[in-house]
Structures are given as structure tokens and as C-alpha cells.
Amino acid sequence: MGRSKKESVNRRDFLRGSAAGVAALAAAVTPVGAQDSGKRAAGTPPPMSKQAETGDPVAEVLTTDRPGADFMVDVIKSLGIEYVGANPGSSYRGLHESVINYGGNKNPEFITCCHEESAVGMAHGYSKIEGKPMGVFLHGTVGLQHASMAIYNAFCDRVPIYMTMGNMVDATLRRPGPEWDHSVQDAAELVRDFVKWDDLPASLPHYAESAVRAYKIAMTPPLEPVLLVVDSELQEKGIAENTNLRVPRLTLAMPPQGDAGSVAEAARLLVAAENPVILADRAARTPAGVTLLIELAEILQAPVIDQGGRMNFPSRHPLNQSAQVTSLIAGADVILGLEVGDFWGTVNSFREQLVRSSEPLANPNAKLVSITANDLYLKSNYQDFQRYTEVDLAMAADAEATLPSLIEAVKRGITGDRKRVFEQRGKEFAEARRNALEQARHEATYAWDASPISTARICAETWGQIKDKDWSLVTETVPWISNWPLRLWSFDKHYQFIGGAGGHGIGYAAPAALGAALANRKHGRLTVAIQCDGDLMYAPGILWTSAHHRIPLLSIMHNNRGWHQELMHVQRMADRHNRGITRATIGTTITGPEIDYAKLAQSMGVHAEGPITNPNDLGPAIRRAIEVVEKGEPALVDVVTQPR
């Protein structure tokens, strides 16, 4: 694209509404020192120029056909970013305009969000479905402040998000008033503790390198958010004619694998073990991770405890023994942890009651083997890394990338005798899995006809209508809905479950579900969210975004009318302090008035029904909502529910 010079006005004059011509303004400029014809005493500073004394403006051409932001869009497009979620902000107005006009608002498409936390939350959910980052644009200072909790969630959840923030670096170019409030010396400092990398490029070539570098860093395990702070002037200023700009080639780093010796030792332990257990938390980064974990478990006939950070292992696979976690840990002689976020909490109990106490759950002779990229990357300030775990073998590596070599090593070590042992072990687990499913079905009958409606009933009614479709559940199931879906439903595809917030920051679920639905849209999947009421109320504007962008998402409200986790905490304190136990609802419930989520959704253009209190009304309402979603629109069913 060519660049043309046009007459324009200085930024300050533009604000004053004085559109003076370039030539006229230029005539008023007097070179510094031109008026200093007399002698000065030693040490006396030179007199100020007339221009400096009077503050007469210097003309500056601002109009251009080729702003720097256009090149930034070229770079962003080269990275394959499909969407940028954002709430508009003047510090990135140049990029905003370039995306929608120069970039044609496609790859990336601008997704209008009502809150920066929602934009980052959407990107969080999108990434876990699509396996690559979504973009987010953030306004200077206040926008990043709004976004910070959601960024922290993504950081804890090891999710890449590609964030760009505007900031007017040069103080002399800032507009008086708000632009000063929205400018900052070190913009990224606010979130530096929980982004993997940030930069403030000083030029467009610098931006190009940093932009590609940021993507590469975000996508190298452990995957994490990254932040580029982009000077507003760099976005808006025209590109000089002879500037040599090119988009650097992106080459992703290969994920780190465990070293051969450690892999061989881990395989030896697993093959020799009588009672091995495999823990999988954020193990399956991609669909291939599920396939690999199935292979490892099957050749060993070893039970898998899926801790739910991702969809790691089919829920009804005979070796899925997630329901037997306590007994399996207690009886294990080898425990293999794959990207386990809290290994210590898995192999130890922690009781906070009359006294605070803990004790090991695992056999003291059990060998603990850990494979996690978390060992490659740790920061000091925020404490998401959990208690230190005394393991016997720690591989600082990506679990999914290490599984192929571990599988091969295990295969090499299996003898005929061991194979027969494994086969017998597998038969016992198959029966245990069948029993667990029957037990779950039996437990689901309790409060089956209750009003408020039980979470088991919600999950059973939903499953009854989606099980024959290509569905994707995009909300966390522990603790909010008692893990019913993973107990009752049959999960076998990577996109059917995406784990939770990571940092347990409330306000994640609604935007993440919508972001996941956005990613699922082009694949034609039916996206389902079981949406907590307290979470939705952090930023309910996400409903508007769903309607505006026609993102098909079925939201079934888990409306227990409170922030129930906190209610239980306050109840615990009230009980512990012996001052009465009837007032814990103060500050923890959402009643008086009860929120009508159907009306809330309808007001933003979303099909909605409810509040539903009769369990017999639930199935038909879900069916009607699915019909809407399958036409490409969002729908919400408000269900008044049991607490958990």
C-alpha cells in the first residue's frame, strides 16, 4: 500500500478545533537559538526560543494511508489469529481501526466484549478448544486492570493468550485529561507476575520480532499468556516510505521431552509395579494426548485418575478409576503424575477442622514420578505452585511430548509374565468401572424430584438430549455440580471437556464458555455450559456478546442463588467461633430480589426460559433451547437448583 502525504493538524490543535494548515504553522516555527544573538554570562542557561516560550505548536501530519497499525495487522494475520476480543479503548484505537478496515475484520475478527475480563475469559476458553491463542486488545491501565484476574486464571491454567495493549508512551503527545490517566511508564508491570513474557516495542521492526517471539513463547510448554504493549503513536503514525518492514517467520519450539535415562527409569518402575496409578491433570494439551494416555494405560492395564484439568482420558474407559482416587493412591506402589497441578494435595490429606492436620495418603514406599513442564517455569510472587512434593523422579518436561518415548520404553520392558499380570489387573478395573457407573446412577436418584432441582437431574436431563449429538461441555464440574457430568456422561473426545478456571477466579466460566463456543462454531459442535449464577453476575454483558456475534451456546443456569462456596466458608467460621450459625447467608447469597436470568438474557437478545423450579419442566425447556442453538444462536435456561 502506498503512502500519501496529506495536510493535517497537530494533535493539540486538533483538540482545540483549530485546523491550521501545515504551511501556516510551519512558518511560525523558529529554530532554537535563532534569537540568541547577545552574549551570555558563564553558567547562564541559554534563553528559551520564542517557540519554546510561547508553546506555539509545531505542525505534525497525522493523516496517512499507511499507519503503523496496518503493519501490525499484517503480523497478527501471519500468526493465524482468528479473533481478537476487546472492549474499545482509545489507546489502541489505531489497531482497532486497522483490524476492521485494513484487515477487513477477518482473521482476526473483532469480538466486541463488554468488559476486558470477559475478553480474556473468552480467549481462555477459545484456546482450550482450538489449541492456539486468541487475541485480546486491552486499553491502557484501566483495561489491563479489568483484565488482570482473567489473565491470572489463564496463567494458572497454562493457557496461551495473545494480548496487545495500547499505551501512549511519549508524554508530549498525550491528550490532556483521560489519556494521561490511561498511560503508564511500565504498563505490563501490573501483570508481569502472571504473564510469561511482555515487551514494549520501540519501532515497527521491533514490534514484528516481538510479536512473533511472543506467539512462540506463548505456545511453548508450559503454555502461558503473553502481553505486548504497543505505543499508541507507533500504531497511528504513518510508516516512513523507506522503512524496511518484513514479517519474521514463525517457528514454534518443540515441546521439551524427558531425557532418555529418566524415561527408561520411569518405564522400569511402571512395568515392575504391582499397583501403578497414573494421575493426569493438564496432561492432554491436544487430542493426541488423549490417544497417547489411552495407549500407555492399556499396555500397562494401569488405572488412570483424571483430575480434570483437561479432557485426558475417556470417562467410561474401563481404566478410568477417577472415582477410586483415595483407595488407589493408598494402595499404589508407583504413582506417575502427568502435569499434575497439586501433586502434594493428591498424595496427602489436609484437614482443617478443630485442628489443622495432614497425613500422607500414599504408601511411604511408593515411588512418585512426575513429568511436568511446570518444573521448567516457576515464578515467585503468586503461589499457584502448591506444596513442594517429594518425588523420586522428576522430569522437567512436557508430559504429552514425553509419552511417546515412555510408551516405547514400557513396551520394551514388558515380558510375557508381566503381560499376564497386567491382563488380570485390567479385568478387575473394568468391573470396578462398571460398578462406579451404577453407583453414580443410584446416587443420582436422590432428590430426583426435588425442587430446587438437583444437579444430578440437570445433568441427566441434559445428557439425555445431547448424547447423540457432537457436543462439547465447556464448564468445570468440580465442585459446582458435584462432578455429575464426568460420572454420568460418556466423554471420549478432547474438546468435550476443557477443565476449569485454573486460578479459581470467579467470573471465568461465562466468558470462557462463550470463547469455547466461538471456537466450536466452525466445527458445528453443540456447546453446552452449566453456568453458575454467581459467576455470570461478574460480567453478564457476555450475554450481549453472545447474541451480537451469534455464537451458539446452550447455557443451563445452575442458579443456587448464591456464591455457595463462600457460604460454606462463612458457615464454617460461624460454627468454629461458636457465635451462632444462622447468619452465614449474609453477604453470600443472591436473594432479595432473586435475579430473573431469563429476563436478563432476553434483554440482551438471547433466547431464554425460566426460572424453572419443576424438574418435569426442565427437559422440554432444554429441548427448545437446543433447537435455537442448532440454528446458530445462543440460548439460556434458568434452573433454580440445589446448592451442589
Partner: protein, 132 residues
């Protein structure tokens, strides 16, 4: 912008506690019939239902005492014997906080127990097509 999922971290213990109480509930169903009259004689079902809500029992155990894998075990139907119930409330073994008689009297416990005893049996799995 906040906050917690502290109870997530106690899931294992909560499940353990659930197993204990469910076991007790099932065992109680076998032994409680003989003691049924004496165990419920002093309890008031309606008052127990009110206390179950006002004392916040429902928060962890559900409004029909159906329990949850992630917060607290099922208490009914077939609650454990009253004596075991009272002992557990005063000196719980899992994550449940202890309730002294300063905040829950013995009379309250009897009423709560009467309410738990009044909760009917659920439908059978075989009668619920959605659970097949």
C-alpha cells in the same frame, strides 16, 4: 475479582467422609428399624426441617439431604442411628466442622434427625429412563 475454591482441595477428604457416612447410613438402615420409635419420639419433623435450613445443613448436604461428592455426604434416607448421628455432629471425622451444643442443642439434633427420617425413599434407577 476473586476468589476461592478451597473446598476443591478437600475433595479427597470429603469423599472419604462421604464414604464413611454413606456406609453408616446403609448400616443404619438395617439397625434403625428396631429403634425407630425411640429415636424419633422427641423430634419434631417440621421444626427439624426449619432448622435444617436455618442452621445451614443444606449447604453441604443438599436440601433433601441427598449429599454431594464435592461438599458433604448423603444423610437421608436411612440415616444412621440417632446416637451415631449426634456423636458425629459433635465430633466429626471428616471436613465437617464440629457443632457444639452451644450452637446446636440436643433437642435441635433430635428435631433435625426427625426431619432426616421423614425424607422418603427416591425412585429406583430402573424407573428413571434418563438413568438407563
Amino acid at each position: 475479582m476473586k476468589k476461592s475454591g478451597v473446598f476443591c482441595s478437600v475433595l479427597l477428604t470429603a469423599v472419604t467422609a462421604m464414604a464413611i457416612l454413606v456406609f453408616c447410613a446403609e448400616a443404619g438402615s438395617q439397625t434403625s428399624a428396631a429403634n425407630k420409635k425411640s429415636e424419633t419420639a422427641s423430634g419434631n419433623v417440621e421444626k427439624g426441617k426449619e432448622l435444617y435450613t436455618s442452621y445451614g445443613c443444606y449447604e453441604c448436604h443438599g436440601r433433601q439431604a441427598q449429599g454431594s461428592r464435592t461438599s458433604g455426604p448423603r444423610l437421608s434416607p436411612n440415616p444412621i442411628p440417632l446416637s451415631a448421628f449426634s456423636t458425629y455432629v459433635r465430633e466429626p471425622r471428616g471436613q465437617m466442622p464440629p457443632y457444639t451444643n452451644k450452637v446446636v442443642s440436643d433437642a435441635d439434633l433430635a428435631d433435625l434427625y426427625a426431619f432426616l427420617k421423614s425424607i422418603p425413599q427416591p425412585p429406583s434407577v430402573k424407573d428413571i429412563p434418563l438413568l438407563q
